[in-house]
Symmetry: C2
Subunit: 193 residues, 2 copies
DNA sequence: TCCTGGTGGTTAGCAGCGCTAGCACTAGCA
DNA sequence: TGCTAGTGCTAGCGCTGCTAACCACCAGGA
């Protein structure tokens, strides 16, 4: 069995190598550069090896996205815990969200633009996704005992995502990012039931 | 000159044929189906004809996007004008925005996901884009004499865009769309200076 | 009326894409 | 030592966006 174990470890390591390389390559040169040929030369294996681990290129992107969601959840959790007063949590979490998106643009892209098959609020929702959402939800919950926390969390998430995407594509005034986050949090706080 | 005029008219007509066909095809089968070969057979010309009118496939998508922005601006204008009381404008405009995005998913995609080169708030911003933004801005302006209308308009736009994108990819509970719009508008109204 | 320049449109082909069939080799077991 | 299972390769298919080179036609002047 030891041999089988070793083989499994090697398989796992190579799988991680593929996703890590894909992510690094995407962050440095954009997802357009992440082709099966380029990726395979980068990991120093031939193309078909990729398909031993993933059914398609899309699945590789999905794996990167999942990794991203786990990291996002962790970043939001850290922001929430590092918050001195509970009232501050929404503000901190919003800032952490923007920060993550800015620092990992390609990964964020994998999470929200390039992977259409990862669904929320469904039976097959992977745990990293629900965990990230739950962190936002917890933060929203502290603001006040609002009637429908879920709805307001979704609205907050949507606003943060919208600010990220529009900002990235040059659709918003580039020197007012902080103002927008502030305005968002302010109007969020103002709407107490 | 009459001959030259006729030629120009024919050129214009063919250009419109290309964008209209691309849009229709995208709405019915998705942008993946809009390849240069498919598009050229659809308009009953050969591939190089496309390149007499557009420099690349991306420019065709951009043309569809511009058309979409013009229509969106018009839809928002109609919603604003059809509003009985000024207080209602934000709500109406938000609903009209969601409506447009739902009715024209592929066009919306061209506007916000597939065309990265159309910038807002810049010197080279095409008029349809600023017009659409201005309609939102006007609606926001009616809510109250807020200090920074621009910032709050951007936040509203971002929230609407986020709700659209996350909703479309199954990232939000599918039977609470109206609730989210309502919550968004409510918190928007609540945050008066 | 014939000739000529320019325009409109075509066919054929390039490089690169995701993906796969099928072969060569090697490690591990009997 | 011979067999087997599994690993990784080469080569190639059908597709993509895009372009070079050519042909047919029409408008305008001699």
């Amino acid at each position: 069995m030891a041999i089988e174990d070793r083989r499994q470890r090697e398989r796992d390591a190579r799988r991680r190598l593929i996703t890590a390389t894909a992510r690094t390559l995407a962050e440095s040169e954009g997802w357009d550069a992440v082709t099966t040929r380029r990726l395979s030369t980068e990991i120093e294996y031939s193309q078909p090896v990729l398909y031993k681990h993933f059914g398609s290129m899309e699945e590789i992107v999905e794996a990167v996205a999942l990794e991203g969601f786990a990291e996002l959840a962790e970043a939001l959790r850290a922001a929430r815990r590092g918050s001195p007063s509970p009232d501050d949590q929404v503000s901190r979490v919003a800032a952490a969200y923007g920060d993550f998106a800015t620092r990992n643009p390609a990964t964020y892209d994998a999470m929200f633009t390039r992977s259409t098959r990862l669904h929320f609020a469904a039976d097959d929702t992977p745990t990293p996704l629900t965990e990230a959402f739950d962190e936002l939800r917890e933060a929203v919950g502290t603001v006040a005992a609002v009637a429908d926390v879920d709805t307001r969390t979704e609205v907050l998430w949507a606003a943060l995502h919208g600010l990220t995407m529009l900002g990235r594509n040059g659709r918003l005034r580039s020197d007012h990012e902080a103002d927008r986050i502030e305005a968002l949090v302010a109007q969020f706080r103002a709407a107490l039931p």
